[in-house]
């Protein structure tokens, strides 16, 4: 199964870089032909472009939630994001809209997309390092994904 592992975020914007950092760790751990590990700070249509041609995708991204605890890792699937599909946007279309567009156009999109979202604190300051609680969460996120990929099934 052709799998894309994508760390989303800006690697020089403190906690926003958590996705790329997890991806970087995974690159060394998941040396398999069928797995592509990538990182990028993009969204909307640009994200859609990257997903085409893969059977499965795992996306690691930063998230902020009401009352959230820094470093908390959540796992979401696509249905979770379906509610956001209709929200308009100023700059680019959102992820759910982009995927829906891809689906309607019959693009070869992954059958399964899992999102690992890590609760972050600071995403408006330039730094290559995440804040401590977020940094501490990286190994667990990496292990969870490695286990899942090596086990070949849902953890």
């Amino acid at each position: 199964m052709k799998t894309l592992i994508l760390g989303l975020g800006n690697p020089i914007l403190t906690d926003d870089g958590v996705g790329p950092q997890v991806a970087k760790e995974l690159e060394g751990r998941l040396d398999q032909q069928e797995i592509t590990v990538m990182e990028g700070s993009l969204g909307g249509l640009n994200l859609l472009d990257l997903l085409v041609g893969y059977d499965r995708a795992i996306i690691i991204d930063a998230i902020e939630t009401v009352g959230g605890k820094a470093g908390q890792i959540y796992r979401l699937d696509l249905e979770a994001f379906d509610a956001t599909r209709h929200a308009a946007s100023v700059h680019d279309i959102n992820f759910a809209t982009a995927l829906e567009l891809g689906k309607r156009l019959g693009l070869a999109l992954p059958q399964q997309i899992d999102i690992f979202a890590i609760e972050v604190v600071d995403t408006s300051r330039f730094s290559e390092e995440c804040t401590p609680k977020v940094t501490e969460a990286i190994p667990l996120c990496v292990e969870t994904i490695v286990q899942e990929m090596e086990g070949g099934q849902d953890a």
Binding site: G43, L45, D49, I63, V90, H91, N94, R125, F126
Partner: protein, 501 residues
């Protein structure tokens, strides 16, 4: 594993905000647009080797990495006093045309067209690219994706990476392209030219043929008389990659033409207590506040500005469309803010034609793509036209090439004063005393600044992956009377997730 429900929020400072203040009569007194600022970039750059900057700066923004990469690469040329070989310049411009195509297609089809094709006050759940495709046909959606992918492929091959390019070096490019790659690019460029023509036809049929929309574009609420700035070649024609910076006044008369390195003689920045972002203005005209006209130093950049400052386009099809646009809208310069969309499509066609020209250039596969720098590095400025407007990168280094100081002026920065004024004018024209402010009405206020394709870099990708905007309306006592945060929490609450840790 435990299942819980979460309510994602957008970062507190990470969203744009429009505040509209009403007077005692309920009319719009004032309107402000606030854009979040990322902190500490200069400090982050200080102490790093300058040649790293073309790889660092594309990270500032997930939307226009190609523009930052090129402006930064050109600034490193200047820092090292090195002139890249002709083939390297052509290869950079080829890459850059692909970047413009990629960006302009997204803006028009995903962000601009839904307002016109579905109507500015139509149901917001339909007023998006899905609604657009439902209306104009799935095959159009397929063409949009295909031509973005072509432009992306070209950028990936030359840029070395799918998303954040690494090809530019002081004095040239990291590698040439092969004949096989050139042939592939040429076929794609031909297709892009056809798509550019198609997009203008679509605009003609769906927007210009509709009297109501044409009136909306040329109407007073979306009109603003300002100065314009943009890059031009030696014949004063539009060029995205290189040239001099030309400024025209609200009558279209050239008032300045300068080299990138002299930008500080022409641009100054004003500060306001209510904004982190600074307000650039033309130094020689002066800051007169957020007002339009010839006495105010407010200027605009981006597509329409580039066409307003130039004497034309270098490619035949784009030149014809350029003439048509100015003929239809009453001659140069055009002050209609919504015409930024039209100008963007003229530029899409130009970028495609120029891309094809460069693909067919005999020198484009030359292996001579690098001049090794030998001078001692000190200081340099690099400028390109980013999709959203003129982009300045200015670096100062020590004799080892270590950054001492970095200054960037980005497109959205130049346009920030004008965006504020456009928002205020639209709000004043649309919101009248005692009236119920509907979502559709607010969308029409938003259209005033969406035309500038503003890039608020920080908020483009963090989940749920959309740029939020909050609109707050206050009465004469400053009390909030209405708050529309359509892109914020409202539709994003109660997401079911599994807790991993």
């Amino acid at each position: 594993m435990k299942k819980v429900t979460i309510d994602p929020i957008t970062r507190l400072e990470g969203h744009g905000k429009i505040e509209i203040f009403l007077n005692d009569e309920g009319d719009v007194q004032n309107a402000y647009l606030q854009i979040p600022e990322l902190r500490g970039f200069e400090k982050f750059c200080e102490g790093r080797p300058v040649e790293e900057m073309p790889r660092i700066t594309p990270r500032i923004c997930g939307v226009c990495p190609g523009a930052h990469h090129m402006a930064s690469t050109k600034a490193t040329d200047a820092v090292y006093h090195v002139d890249p070989p002709s083939a390297a310049k052509k290869l950079r411009e080829l890459f850059y045309c692909a970047h413009m195509i990629h960006s302009h297609i997204a803006h028009f089809y995903a962000l601009a067209a839904p307002d016109f094709v579905l109507g500015p006050t139509s149901d917001p759940s339909e007023r998006n690219i899905l609604g657009l495709v439902a209306k104009v046909g799935l095959e159009v959606g397929g063409e949009v994706i295909k031509h973005r992918a072509y432009a992306q492929d070209i950028q990936t091959v030359i840029g070395g990476k799918a998303t954040h390019p690494v090809c530019g070096l002081p004095g040239g490019m990291s590698k040439p392209i092969t004949e096989e790659e050139r042939k592939d690019f040429e076929e794609k460029a031909k297709s892009e030219v056809e798509f550019g023509k198609f997009s203008l036809k679509l605009f003609n049929d769906l927007v210009l043929a509709n009297k109501e929309y044409l009136e909306l574009i040329t109407g007073d609420i979306y009109t603003m008389k300002s100065y314009y700035m943009g890059l031009v070649d030696s014949n004063n024609k539009v060029n995205f990659y290189d040239g001099d910076i030309r400024v025209v006044d609200p009558d279209g008369k050239e008032v300045a033409k300068f080299k990138p390195a002299d930008y500080l003689d022409y641009i100054a920045e004003h500060t306001e207590p209510w904004s982190y972002l600074k307000f650039p203005f033309l130094k020689k005209v002066g800051w007169k506040g957020l007002v339009d006209g010839k006495d105010s130093g407010v200027y605009r950049v981006n597509s329409l500005a580039r066409l307003n400052v130039a004497d034309g386009m270098t490619t035949p099809l784009a030149q014809a469309e350029y003439e048509k646009m100015f003929d239809t809208l009453g001659g140069k310069p055009v002050h209609a803010t919504l015409a930024f969309h039209w100008a963007r499509l003229v530029e899409l066609l130009y970028a495609a034609e120029r891309l094809l020209e460069l693909c067919q250039d005999g020198e484009i596969t030359s292996p001579e793509v690098r001049t090794i720098p030998t001078a001692t590095p000190d200081e340099g400025v690099g400028v390109v036209e980013a999709p959203r407007g003129t982009l300045f990168h200015h670096y100062q280094t020590d004799e080892k090439g270590i950054i001492q100081k970095a200054n960037l002026i980005v497109a959205t920065g130049h346009n920030y004063p004008a965006m504020n004024m456009s928002v205020k004018k639209a709000a004043q024209g649309l919101i009248k005393k005692g009236q119920v402010v509907s979502e559709g009405l607010l969308n029409m206020v938003e259209m005033a600044f969406r035309a500038y394709d503003p890039c608020m870099a920080c908020a483009t990708h963090t989940l749920p992956g959309q740029m939020p905007l909050e609109v707050v309306i206050r009465d004469s006592r400053g009390e909030v009377v209405e708050k529309l945060s359509q892109h914020l929490h409202s539709e994003l609450t109660g997401i079911r997730v599994t807790v991993v840790s």
